[in-house]
Assembly symmetry: C2
Amino acid sequence: MTEPSPVRQPDLPPPMPARPEADPGPVATGLAVERVDTSFLETLIGYNARRAALTIISHFLPRMAQFGLRPVEFSVLTLIGHNPGITARQLCTTLDLQPPNLVGMIKGVEKRGLLEKRDHPSDRRAQGLYLTAEGESQLEQAQETALALEVEATPRLTPLERITLIRLLRKVYQPDH
Amino acid sequence: MTEPSPVRQPDLPPPMPARPEADPGPVATGLAVERVDTSFLETLIGYNARRAALTIISHFLPRMAQFGLRPVEFSVLTLIGHNPGITARQLCTTLDLQPPNLVGMIKGVEKRGLLEKRDHPSDRRAQGLYLTAEGESQLEQAQETALALEVEATPRLTPLERITLIRLLRKVYQPDH
DNA sequence: TATTGTTATACTCTATAACTATA
DNA sequence: TATAGTTATAGAGTATAACAATA
């Protein structure tokens, strides 16, 4: 990345006279910060989860560009593929999307011939969403790529750690169950 | 966020008879999808990490609004507080921010009197960032709030699970170490 | 009266190009 | 030549309000 900041040789100035106050943090030498202390942020699940998600996404984007799929589009296509006839409303509640933001996305993949809308059997307001043959083929390849990319993006996780990590993440965003 | 989707009562259909084939997914009845199958997405770390991060952020936003701090502003203030004299460049590489996006943020908190810039001791292009007394006071309260909010946002995690989760997330976004 | 899908729109977040002053 | 900070700007991503058709 940027600076390896190798062997730590702080070269501290002579100690300051003792002070009564509590922890002053890293010694204020008036000099530049050599190593950035991120210890507090690293105690926060939100910070760590966000950083981890962004790392995976940075691997996801170039690999899935061949399918023209961004993360949410991939999630939408996956849910349609595994739930033929799902409605837009169901996609929104499942993926926490706002309906207006889904309209353009569906219109896009529909225009690319990956999915089609059909009449909903019992509610004429709604439409069931289905993958086309091309959509199913694309999704199959995209899913394989996603699985491979995840392993490549997380080389330090053992298979067991991967399972544990997923289980704990689900406990965060699925308060019930 | 949008909808808490309260008590989940899936209203499951009666169990289906055993079938020899490999899992064909939800039965294509030509009828509406009753329960949305998310099983594939839930095997992906990226999906789960993103959902978990968004859940925490949804708790973060209203709680930290009293300090006028959004997630990245909180991270920036935290790093400055723990690393007096840190430069904008160091903040960018540490938090994976683009320099142009940091400028306005720093300008904002500086105008609110929470931080100040001083000359860098050895590089006249750079500036060291420091919290004001008010900034330190605000940060201290904000950090306490963040810690409390995280626990409230993840009631199903035991203290041990929290530690494990953080350790595994760090293995995802810190390839070295 | 409530809900599905939709349009229009605004706001936030993030990314790129190009400039300046220093190194 | 490269780097720190900055400006301007463009593009994603996400949010709200309001509407027509249907429940």
